[in-house]
């Protein structure tokens, strides 16, 4: 378990508070295998219902395929597969969240396939905790902005750009379990 109160933590306490303030804001939350995740609202471009996805054979397994988003070819990533969760059949709740971010001069648009979109919620700085140390479970927490807590719910706030541009993030589910246990 990631024990809070290590020396490092103490030293960077101010930094943590600062980060919490920086991260506070509106998040769009969605469900993935009964776990809750949050995306910075500014990264979300639109939400579209499940549509015809063209499979791209011989590419990474978590790539569900490509869609025609008003003339633009957009890659859709199955977040379940990306996080090494069990793959399930799509339901009428399944949607594609189109996210967009820029790095340098290039702006990237991608779609992520999630089980269900929940809501847009405001998360205050006091509700945000730094990402847990997952080194014990061989995890890198780079792509997690922090852990949001609201009315006993635990929301893993994702840095979606990092999630989608990092090759291996399958340990995320390990993390989310961790988060759940900790809050429980």
């Amino acid at each position: 378990m990631a024990t809070v109160g290590s020396e490092e933590r103490q030293e960077s306490l101010n930094g943590v508070e600062e980060a919490a303030h920086r991260l506070a804001g509106k998040y769009m939350t969605f469900k993935l295998a009964n776990e809750e995740y949050g995306l910075e609202i500014l990264r979300v471009r639109e939400i579209i219902g499940l549509m015809d996805i063209t499979r791209v054979p011989k590419t990474r397994d978590y790539v569900r395929g490509v869609i025609n988003l008003r003339g633009k070819v957009v890659t859709v990533v199955d977040l379940r597969v990306k996080f090494a969760m069990e793959r399930t059949e799509s339901t009428d709740q399944t949607v594609i969240i189109v996210v967009q971010w820029s790095a340098g001069n290039t702006s990237t648009t991608m779609g992520i396939l999630v089980d269900e979109v929940l809501e847009v919620m405001n998360i205050g700085p006091e509700q945000i905790e730094p990402p847990p140390d997952l080194r014990a479970s061989k995890g890198d927490t780079d792509f997690i902005l922090g852990i949001g807590k609201a009315e006993k719910r635990v929301i893993c706030l994702l840095d979606i750009a990092k999630v989608l541009s990092t090759e291996e993030v399958s340990y995320v589910s390990a993390l989310s379990k961790e988060g759940t246990t900790r809050s429980a």
């Binding site: 490509v66 025609n68 003339g71």
Partner: protein, 912 residues
């Protein structure tokens, strides 16, 4: 901005003083106005002392204007001359000093953001100038005077801009180049130097664009161009000391206008008589107006005026043919002005008067108060004729010491000129001409010139290379006026034919064009989605009519969109001709470059992509394909070799051919080399095409290979790769001893391709039509298996590897039995292959899009994606990679072309 503003004002002022008529208050007023503008501009720029000086001059001028005394005005004018010379020099100095310590104010004071933007603009501008220079220089070499003017303008513009941006190295060098262009030199030398300038500029602008410091300060170039000029300083002193008679034509044409202007004005100031109101009615004589000490000056004057009048005729003909631009009219004006000045000094009254009236008329033309119509031009022609006669009289009198004869026609001529100046246009003598009629024919029909004379001149024209008009003037002493009138008639015929064909051009950001084209592409697809929807049939007729209209407009838009990105290949071809010439000179060969179809238009980005392959192919042709002159003579060929560049449309594709008439490819040498490197098996029988394909393999073109075989192969893999990158194909054709032709087959555009939608199991893919050879349903006896693994198909005597698309891509549900499916024969770098697909669904034009990010970047099986007519995304297959799996054991594309096919062929024959 003000910096260049000052410069312009200085220029204007110089011109103004040049034309200032000291008896006229109006012209002084104009000077005054310019001076006050200059004063404020200088103040803005921070040259406060200079500004003060200018202001004082303005005050003095104002005082002079108020006084009604002519003497006072003359005094003021004189002062103005001196002052201006001083100012010009001082300004030049101050400017130079400022440029040398780089940026005290021009950069530091201004907003850095704005400056970065300006710099970016500048870089773009210079780049376009650099790319425009090549064709311009080429045109100039061929004697196109417009091109020369255009070059000067371009150089001047970027010089100004670089000054504004505080780039002294660029400014100095360009300035040197500009001064160089003003001096007479042979066209060849000029062109070579200009090409050097172009290359130098291209390097500098790239450094500028990437933010690197300049690694060359242009000193050598400046030396080439004759160093930095400090004309204004010279002008200041020259104005005070130079003897009027020393003003020769080269000085007038070569030095900045300020010098000649100043000198002339001083001359006029020394002894300008008021224009005589009445002239002698009949030819009479006056005593020789000069004394012995001046005789030399008169002789000098005669020589010069002869030259000057010649240049007038030349200018007039040019104006006749190419229109009266400011430069030419100014040129005319200057000549008469000089003539007037010097003649006045030498008391040659008739010449003075005639020049003066003509000058006044030309000034009106110059300021736009009078159009340089045929009437005006004819008058100037007549004037030059009379002036020549007058000069002859002077000469006679000078040689024989007899009294100077006066000509009666001068008076009438002056009258006519005055009438024209006042706006009365004379009747114009006309020649009749039909469109396309030759100049000689027009002249002959009009009876102005005898048929034999024209024949004669045409014959000698072949040797001299001059224009017929010049030749006629020179040899048959036909009056320039007659020729000008004939040319006018000829032009009129063309103008009538071309009426309304003038083209206007706008420059648009390429990105915007791309976006537009992309949007049109979308529109086309959406339109076909709507039009093909089954529900449409249930719509009422009028709606369907509208829809038909919609479809029609969409297609029109698509065509327009495609055209927008199209540029002619001309510029690129011309660059290549230059390269051929350079290479030929270096390798000591005589090569003629021939261009065909350079007007063929291609997608802009394709033209860019084509540049590298063309360079390599041409270098190859010149270096290795073409023999030395001795060798050529020995083999009975003409000493002059030919490299031909040709472009043409062929069935929706563009074909570019590069051919030489050199020694051709030595097939056996290539084979030997390939065998020694283990690329093909000993004794394998290869088709010519296959042998030539070996040349394009990377590494095949090592140095020793070049000398051993006939020398083909340098950079050839680059050629192949680049051509394939733009989805083109290259084929080679060679006849030993006769030459080699490389044929590049390219798609019209990069954005849209013709695709074939194929079905494979549950998936649909797009195959570029360009790489499809044919499709067929195989019978069982066409199929073979080698060593139990590799599957082969025998198609018309050719054994092709069978590519099972479903297995390569991991697609389910495909028909495993080839005889129940379809074979699509595809062409790739490595050779042909038979791709097994379930069905060919349809043919469709698709807009190519990059596959969205997030797809494995290392995957090579897709060339991109496209939106299909049903709105779904379709994947475009990369034929190279997929065929490469079968052809090269899983390694895709180029490295894999170790062509196992011939080897396989052998084993098949063993099997059979």
């Amino acid at each position: 901005m003000t910096f260049s503003n000052c410069e312009t004002l200085f220029d204007d002022l110089t011109v103004c003083t040049l034309s200032v008529d000291f008896g006229e208050p109006k012209s002084l007023q104009r000077c005054q106005q310019l001076l006050s503008e200059l004063s404020s501009a200088l103040l803005l720029e921070g040259f406060s002392e200079l500004a003060d000086d200018v202001r004082k001059t303005v005050e003095l001028l104002a005082a002079a204007l108020e006084s009604n005394r002519k003497a006072a005005r003359l005094k003021a004018a004189e002062l103005l001359e001196i002052k201006l010379a001083q100012l010009t020099a001082a300004f030049a100095k101050a400017r130079e000093a400022r440029l040398l310590d780089l940026d005290p104010s021009s950069l530091a004071n201004s907003d850095p953001m704005a400056n970065a933007e300006l710099l970016a603009d500048f870089v773009v501008n210079v780049r376009s100038v650099v790319s425009d220079l090549d064709p311009l220089i080429e045109a100039m070499r061929q004697g196109d005077l417009n091109a020369e003017g255009e070059i000067k303008r371009r150089v001047h513009t970027i010089k100004g801009e670089s000054g504004m941006l505080g780039l002294p190295i660029l400014e100095r060098t360009l300035h040197a180049a500009e001064s160089y262009l003003e001096r007479p030199a042979s066209a060849w030398e000029r062109c070579d130097h200009l090409l050097e300038l172009r290359d130098w500029l291209a390097d500098r602008v790239e450094e500028l664009g990437s933010g690197r410091p300049f690694d060359n300060d242009g000193a050598e170039l400046q030396e080439v161009f004759g160093g930095r000029q400090s004309a204004p300083n010279v002008a200041a002193s020259a104005a005070r000391t130079a003897l009027p008679a020393k003003v020769s034509l080269p000085a007038t044409a070569g030095l900045p206008t300020s010098l000649s202007g100043l000198t002339n004005s001083v001359v006029s100031f020394l002894g300008f008589p008021p224009p005589a109101s009445a002239t002698e009615p009949v030819n009479s004589t006056v005593p020789v107006p000069w004394d012995d000490t001046e005789a030399d000056l008169v002789a000098e004057f005669l020589r010069e005026s002869n030259e000057n009048l010649g240049s007038v005729d030349q200018l007039l003909l040019e104006i006749e043919q190419q229109g009266a631009d400011a430069e030419r009219v100014n040129g005319l004006f200057r000549v008469f002005h000089t003539l007037k000045g010097v003649a006045t000094f030498l008391h040659l009254t008739q010449i003075t008067e005639l020049s003066h009236t003509t000058e006044t008329m030309l000034d009106k033309v110059r300021t736009g108060h009078l159009t340089s119509g045929p009437g005006v031009l004819d008058l100037v022609f007549d004037t030059t004729t009379t002036l020549r006669k007058l000069a002859q009289c002077v000469e006679k009198s000078l040689q024989e010491g007899c009294p100077l004869q006066l000509l009666a026609e001068v008076a009438t001529l002056i009258e006519r000129t005055r009438a024209v100046t006042a706006g009365v246009l004379p009747a114009v003598e006309k020649f009749e001409a039909q469109l396309g009629e030759k100049l000689g024919t027009i002249l002959e029909n009009s009876g102005a010139v005898a048929h034999e004379t024209i024949e004669d001149c045409l014959a000698s024209q072949r040797d001299s290379g001059r224009k017929l008009g010049e030749e006629l003037m020179e040899r048959a002493s036909i009056a320039p006026k007659v020729i000008a009138q004939a040319i006018r008639a000829q032009n009129q015929a063309v103008v009538t034919a071309n009426a309304g064909k003038l083209k206007e051009v706008v420059k648009v950001d390429l990105e915007r064009v791309d976006r537009l084209v992309e949007a049109i592409g979308e529109l086309v697809i959406v339109e076909s989605m709507v039009s093909n929807a089954p529900e449409i049939l249930m719509l009422p007729t009028y709606l369907r009519t509208h829809l038909g209209q919609f479809a029609k407009i969409t297609r029109e838009l698509q065509e327009l969109g495609m055209c927008m990105r199209m540029v002619p290949l001309r510029a690129e071809f011309q660059k290549m001709t230059r390269m051929i010439r350079d290479l030929a000179r270096r390798s000591g060969k005589t090569i003629r470059a021939e261009l065909h179809g350079e007007a063929t238009e291609m997608d802009r980005s394709m033209v860019e992509q084509l540049a590298d392959p063309l360079v390599h192919l041409i270098r190859n042709a010149v270096d290795h394909g073409i023999e030395t002159p001795e060798e050529r003579l020995r083999s009975g060929k003409s000493e002059v070799a030919t490299v031909t560049l040709a472009a043409a449309h062929e069935g929706g594709k563009i074909v570019v051919e590069i051919s030489d008439d050199g020694r051709g490819i030595n097939r056996d040498a290539v084979l030997r080399k390939a065998i020694s490197r283990g690329l093909i098996a000993e004794g394998a029988s290869l088709s010519d095409a296959e042998v030539y394909d070996l040349l394009f393999m990377p590494g095949f073109s090592t140095a020793e290979a070049v000398t051993e075989i006939s020398g083909r192969g340098v950079g050839m893999d680059v050629v192949k790769r680049n051509i394939e990158a733009i989805r083109g194909r290259i084929t080679t054709h060679s006849v030993p001893g006769r030459g080699t032709t490389f044929r590049l087959v390219l798609p019209l555009t990069l954005a849209i391709i013709d695709g074939m939608v194929i079905r494979c199991g549950t998936e649909r893919f797009i195959l570029p039509t360009l790489s499809i050879v044919e499709s067929l349903q195989p019978t069982a006896d066409m199929l073979f298996r080698v060593t139990g693994k590799a599957e082969l198909v025998l198609v018309r005597g050719e054994t092709l590897p069978l590519v099972r698309l479903d297995r390569i891509l991991g697609v389910d549900g495909a028909e495993p039995d080839p005889t129940k499916a379809l074979l699509v024969i595809v062409e790739s770098v490595g050779g042909r292959a038979a791709m097994l697909v379930d069905d060919v669904v349809m043919k469709q034009q698709v807009v190519i899009k990059t596959l969205g990010s997030g797809i494995d970047e290392t995957q090579v099986f897709y060339a991109g994606a496209a939106i299909l007519s049903n709105g779904r995304v379709g994947l475009i297959l990369n034929v190279e990679a997929i065929a490469g799996v079968a052809l090269g054991g899983g390694r895709p594309a180029l490295e894999a072309i170790s062509t196992p096919r011939p080897v396989v062929e052998n084993s098949v024959s063993q099997l059979n």
